[in-house]
Amino acid sequence: MRSLKKIFVKGVLFLLLLFCLDRFIGSVLLKQLYNLEAGQAAQLPKALRAQADIVVLGSSRARHHYDPELIEKITGKTVFNAGVDGLYIPYIQGAADLLMSRYKPKLLVIEIDPFYFTETHFKDNLLRVEALAPYIDDSDILKEQIFDLSGFNRMVYSFHTIRFNGKPWSFLSNIIRQDCCPNGFSPIKKVMEPAEWKDKIEDKTSKYENFVLDPKAVEMLSKTIQQAKSLRVGVVLVTSPEWREQIEEVQVLLSLSSVVKTISEEEQVPYVMATLDQYPEFRDPSYYADPSHLNEQGARRFSETLGTILVHLGY
């Protein structure tokens, strides 16, 4: 009985200590997160601080393809690239909600790879949105997304420090690393060797050959556009060039692009699909770092093209 009492008292005291420390560490880390300068985790805080007129949202294809400096020169508006590697539609929805809860940008440029809408891609990458867990108190949409992932997430994320799971490196690298990309754009220097990629591309094509569309992905993008429109924030959907289009089953890509096109028509927002047929200059492999990513030279070329398109669209 004494043992039971001892374990109960010590257990309660220890849990109380953990609870207090959890809240304290959680709030300190959140403050630090919003002040991050370097690394991927700093993309969103920097975008929130920059309060640019035009914000680019998307995954690595956004981060490496859109040069804010060039777009700024052409459009005359401030631009920030908030693309983050490996984060897709759930990130776009969450980040857009966070941004629009702070201020109203003039335009959201959303980079969409049509493959994001396949069930395989969407489901495989759904859990990654937990990288945005620190922000759940600031975005109801993020909260809903993350809580929907697991029945236990509501309980798990009531602990504040667990929201920073895997993040200590971001804080450490913020101290030891220089900020490489003040406007969020991170160009890739490498130039692709087409022969290197042939086998890998074939594998990926077979993966998506019999694709199934994920309605949740479509719904997320539609809701993001609707939210932006309700706040009078403009939206342009863009698919930047992909070299793999040349060697893959073009049919798969085209079918998927029609999904984005339908969304853009239904929501009445422009969709810029930079296919290689429309922009044959991007057939040049020297513009690429790999079949899905433009390199620095390609990114600059594309940013100039996009800047002109945005001006034509009235931005």
Binding site: S3, I7, N165, G166, P168, W169, S173
Partner: protein, 473 residues
């Protein structure tokens, strides 16, 4: 239900809570239904397999105990062996053997239509089968009296902390514990809880972070070079150790909270001074099982020297095959067998050389630890590689592509940090037990340690990480 999941914690707290509330005489029943529930969370149908295995071992044990003639005893032993090993063969090895036969036949240009059983490998089948077998063999050898209580025997086979990945307990050690009363003991619970936390730290902070790097290298072997292979292999050595010993710690810790002592499964294996020593420290429950039920019955070291070497090789080959029905494991076992033989053959020479050169003993020990660790790492290449071809590719490319090292942050950073913590703890453990050492400290120091430990699991551990590697065996 994974040990490192929130489901397990809810399950365990419920089981432990009810366990201490119900009277002693009903506890075995509560643990038995909890254990079967635990297993059925993975696959309901396969619980029948454990039940059948249990019934076969139980009745064969009883009948062996009652049998008067050696012939009858042997008959019941054979029935138990055939049925239990039969299950193991059908579910784990059938497709492998058929595939191997098919490949052999194809060499002679004989066409054979492929047949394969589409069966899911039951989690932990190798563990509970070996546990059931050891019981039947012990009864046959007269080492233990057959257990009459079917429920307690079923609990011995299916006891949830060690059901799916060991330690492979002996009936002589675990079965009597189900009949003794367990009281609520603060120190024991604290010890068990700490062991569980240490196991979780090893799994989610060290093993799972290292796994991210190791998987990216070993799953794309053709795209990497020597330095990367070397780093990935060293990382894998710690990944597999932390993954498996982490599981064992959680198993031992959770059993300890309930009042049961499970056997130690690891004893600082990477501080081994020879491969022989390594097997005294690595997966102790399996190595002693193989020693007692395979190596010694084969003749052990009681016959000629050559026979001993053959016995060693057979034991290690089967030990390799126990891990899985693929050639990489067979080769892994074979290489360990060869290393053990070489270690035994060269032991006296090595001693003499060291004596003649006059190298101080501590330096000899350190050198031995380093050499042994590297030899073990060499064998891990076969254990981890997806195919035999990949393993040879890695080994033949170890010297190429220097100094181009691929690394991925932050998983490498967290993993490396974890390894440093692990080695520090193990250095202390070579001299004294870590828990009593912590218990001696002032409450502020102790709680600071617990708090840092807790938050490092929360913030550095991989959530939704991979399952334990040994679950597949």
């Amino acid at each position: 239900m994974q040990f490192n999941s929130i489901y397990f914690f809810i399950f365990f707290i419920t089981v432990a809570g009810v366990y201490f509330l119900v009277p002693h005489r009903f506890r075995w029943f509560w643990l038995l239904i909890s254990s079967y529930y635990f297993y059925m969370c993975w696959n309901v149908k396969y619980a029948l397999l454990i039940a059948t295995s249990t019934l076969v071992a139980y009745f064969c044990g009883l009948l062996t105990g009652k049998a008067r003639s050696i012939f009858s005893k042997r008959l019941f032993l054979i029935i138990s062996l055939v049925i239990n090993l039969g299950f193991l063969f059908v579910f784990k090895y059938f497709n492998f053997f058929l595939d191997s036969i098919q490949k052999c036949v194809n060499v002679f240009s004989i066409q054979m239509s492929p047949i394969a059983l589409k069966l899911l490998l039951p989690v932990g089948i190798s563990f509970y089968t070996f546990q059931a077998l050891s019981y039947t063999i012990d009864v046959y050898w007269g080492k233990i009296v057959p257990e009459k209580h079917l429920g307690k025997f079923a609990l011995y086979v299916s006891f949830f902390p060690q059901l799916v990945a060991g330690p492979i307990e002996r009936a002589t050690h675990l079965l009597p514990q189900f009949s003794t009363q367990k009281n609520f003991d603060y120190d024991r619970i604290k010890h068990g809880f700490f062991l569980m936390m240490w196991g979780i730290f090893k799994k989610v902070v060290i093993a799972d972070n290292l796994a991210m790097y190791v998987d990216s290298v070993y799953n794309n072997a053709q795209h990497h070079t020597g330095p990367t292979f070397l780093l990935a292999t060293y990382f894998f050595a710690f990944q597999i150790y932390c993954d498996f010993s982490g599981y064992s710690d959680i198993a031992i810790g959770s059993a300890k909270i309930l009042g049961y002592d499970l056997m130690q499964n690891f004893r600082q294996p990477y501080f081994a001074t020879s491969t022989v020593d390594f097997w005294r420290r690595w997966h102790i429950s399996l190595s002693t099982w193989l020693r007692d039920y395979l190596y010694i019955p084969l003749g052990g070291n009681k016959k000629s020297r050559n026979r001993m070497y053959i016995n060693l090789l057979i034991t290690m080959l089967l030990g390799g095959l126990w891990h899985g029905a693929v050639w990489t494991f067979v080769l892994w076992g074979a290489i360990h067998g060869i290393l053990l033989i070489v270690s035994k053959v060269t032991f006296s020479w090595r001693e003499k050389i060291c004596e003649r050169i006059g190298v101080p003993k501590p330096i000899v020990t350190i050198l031995r630890i380093i050499i042994t660790f590297n030899l073990i790492c060499l064998t891990w290449v076969f254990f981890r590689a997806n195919t035999v071809e990949d393993a040879f590719y890695i080994l033949t490319h170890l010297t190429q592509g220097w100094p181009n090292l691929y690394y991925s942050l932050p998983s490498c950073f967290y993993g490396a940090l974890g390894i440093i913590v692990l080695l520090l703890v193990q250095c202390v453990q070579t001299k004294r037990e870590i828990l009593p050492l912590i218990a001696k400290q002032h409450i502020v120091a102790r709680w600071t340690f617990y708090v840092i430990f807790f938050f490092s699991i929360v913030m550095l551990g991989i959530r939704n990480g991979a399952q334990f590697i040994y679950f597949q065996f």
